[in-house]
Amino acid sequence: MKFLGYILRNARRNPVRSLLTIGSIAVCGFLTVAMLSLFSSADQLREEVKGYDRVIVMSSQGFAQPVPIALKNEIIALDQARGLNAIARRAADGKPLISPFSWFGGKYKDEQLSLFAQFGIDPDVFFDIYTELTLPADQLAAFKARPDAVVVGRKLAADKKIAVGDKFPLKGEIYNYDLDLTVVGIFDGPENRDLRSCYFNWDYLNEGLLSKASGVGANNAGTILIKCASTALIPPLCQAIDQATANSDRATKSQTEDAFIGQFAEFTKDLQTYINLLGVAVAFALLIICGVAMAMSMRERTREVAVLRAIGFRKPQILGMVLAEAVLIAGLGGLIGTGTALLLSKNWDAIAPLTMGFFPYLRIPPQVALAGIAGSLLIGLIGGYWPALRAASIPVVDGLRKVV
């Protein structure tokens, strides 16, 4: 510790160089931490939803194939017939917590693309299943009462300046039907949930489809969402459902919500591989940057190191001092980079619109932030090692003779 003052002075000796090195590590560290967070935030979401014991039943043939709504009652019956009692029931009235969960994929107002998630659900039970989403009681009552009601997420409402009572038209793309909805509520929830989504009454869509002569697309639930009574009951329920449908023309694949979310992350696996490789490459580049900066500093200080050695400083002490300086500089860079990323993520709502909707949220998981800082310290340690060793190993007599 008594060397700390000297180490700090050394770090400040060539302020331009130190600042450039710190800046380099900060900028690249920021990038790496932000990029790695893109995917690990999905991992974190998966971890979090595990506690809610939810199951999603989809067609075994993929997202494009819907499961029929009739399956909902069949699942309830199956659950009782098998004596599983896996489906959670509402305490007040014993209603089973199971709902259609149908992706609408429409376009809002005049928008050219379908830019946010829209789901048809059962308003009566949906917020009992998604307990982490909150909707004021009066708005929930209105949502249950009014067939053409829609509730929108807080961020979506903020982006599109939507208030309760506004019209909310959605133009069908997958369905040959346009929804003419009215906003009755704005829900909120944890930051990493999709608060740029909306939920409407599935019955309203279905009745609309049935009213058309063709009736194409009607009576399909998309997927079915179930809240289970306990984690232990999830596997038998999934197995029972999939077995029961296996030999029909609507075979299902039932899985936990976290496995369901996991699929989406797997779809972008190569991109994740690229980003991981990018992280490695950037770390390697920073290693060089840090090492070169330290080597340049040490070359300019060769004579000084020789004086220290003459005075009686031993090799390990010189090594330690140079390494400490490298770790200090690199660590400061890592701290600034990670800190900036954390700061940005805290205020992401203001920045998100600038990303053209590609990064609706940025959340830096603590382990990524820690990895960012630890990585930078390691970069200092490894990058500084060679210059430090060289500085410590120059024979004193040569170092003293050296004119810099």
Partner: protein, 403 residues
């Protein structure tokens, strides 16, 4: 103006070779990382461009924007095939006949197809949305440079499939002769491998239309139809008929426009790439500046000597700037070379418009090279400018006295 000879810079770089080399390496890494991503954008756009023929129309359901969400009656498809102005099939070559291609000579080049997107498992165990396309007889004639490279073409109605060699490597059970299992009840036997000029088709599994229809209960409808117009004028007429004729009311899009519009992924990658490019450039230009500052510092006396000899301040500024650009250019070149190696890598990316897997060959074309040059120059100029300014600001007398 008397310029400081370039040889002087080259010698200096050679003398300080370890620092030079390492700085070059940093620039190379940064440029290569960015180039690969832009190479992916380039590959994606190239694949889309190759896939789209302006005289071929993709006919979708009225409301759909892409084949994934599109469907219409197969009767309509059959009627479309009878319309005037559709090109007719060429004679089948002997090689094509030997490979089992369907014979569509003299028949309209119109193919009603079904797109089916099950979740499949890659060889590494991860899951993905795969496109299985139930094709029509004319389908291979409507793809650019379609060729069977191994095995033979599929026989419709027999649950056979063909796919590209890239896909074959990527999916479990997709090897020639093995059984591609979608679900217990839906399996396809791989009987051939095909290429299609790097177009979108190379990311798909092809089987007979009726095979898919039966497996997915979609008999009686198609997802889309592709037709090739006989002439540009005929294309205009067909678009009008298909959009407005009461028999159809569909959404015909020129294939070139159809793929150009599926640009969400390219847009995302460009955005991501630009972000990475800008930040990494800043990071690396700091490193370049560090190297140049050290160069200026260790050559203080030389700079004084040069000034004493009569070289002007601008000449010295230019000399140091040139040296910085020299370093970053070497790095940029090395980085571009490294990314060329990466261009052998075919990259699977989820298409944001259809949520299906696309196989993209990384392509180091004009865009990635332009990005590399821009990064290189930015790093050289901004990294070299301030050190160069410091060099010219040195006091001659003091510089000469400097130890």
């Amino acid at each position: 103006m008397a310029l400081v000879p370039l040889r002087y810079n080259l010698r200096n770089l050679a003398v300080r070779w370890p620092t030079t080399l390492l700085t070059v390496l940093v620039v190379a890494i940064v440029v290569a990382c960015t180039c690969v991503l832009f190479g992916l954008v380039d590959g994606l756009e190239h694949s889309n461009a190759i896939s789209g023929d302006p005289q071929t129309l993709v006919v979708l359901g009225k409301r759909a924007d892409n084949e994934t969400s599109s469907y219409f009656d197969v009767d309509k498809a059959q009627t479309i095939a009878t319309l005037d102005g559709i090109a007719t099939g060429p004679p089948r070559t002997d090689a094509q006949a030997a490979a089992g291609w369907p014979d569509v000579e003299g028949r309209p080049l119109a193919a009603g197809e079904i797109v089916h997107i099950p979740i499949m498992t890659r060889t590494d165990g991860s899951r993905v949305n795969l496109t299985i396309r139930g094709v029509d007889a004319a389908s291979p004639y409507l793809r650019p440079d379609f060729q069977i490279v191994a095995g033979r073409y599929l026989r419709p109605g027999t649950r056979e499939c063909i796919l590209s060699p890239g896909m074959s490597r990527r999916f479990t059970g997709a090897q020639l002769g093995s059984e591609l299992v979608v679900t217990d009840k839906e399996t396809y036997r791989v009987v051939g491998l095909f290429t299609a000029g790097g177009s979108v088709a190379e990311s798909e599994v092809w089987t007979g239309r009726d095979d898919v229809a039966a497996a997915t209960n979609r008999t009686g409808s198609v997802s889309s139809m592709r037709i090739r117009a006989a002439s540009p004028d005929a294309a205009v007429a067909l678009i009008d008929t298909l959009s407005n004729d009461n028999r159809f009311v569909l959404k015909p899009i020129r294939e070139s426009k159809y793929y150009a519009d599926q640009n969400l992924t390219a847009l995302f990658l460009t955005f991501l790439g630009s972000l990475i490019a800008v930040l990494l450039t800043i990071g690396a230009l700091f490193a370049a500046a560090n190297t140049m500052f050290a160069a200026v510092k260790s050559r203080t006396r030389e700079i004084g000597t040069l000034r004493a000899l009569g070289f002007s301040r601008p000449a010295i500024l230019f000399s140091f700037l040139l040296e910085a650009i020299l370093i970053t250019t070497l790095g940029g070149l090395l980085g571009a070379l490294l990314s060329l190696i990466a261009s052998r890598w075919s990259f699977g990316i989820s298409d944001f418009n259809t949520f299906t897997e696309r196989m993209i060959q990384i392509r180091i074309g004009l865009v990635p090279l332009a990005v590399a040059i821009a990064m290189t120059l930015a790093m050289g100029i901004f990294g070299g400018l301030f050190p160069a300014i410091r060099a010219v600001r040195l006091d001659v007398i003091k510089a000469l006295r400097e130890l």
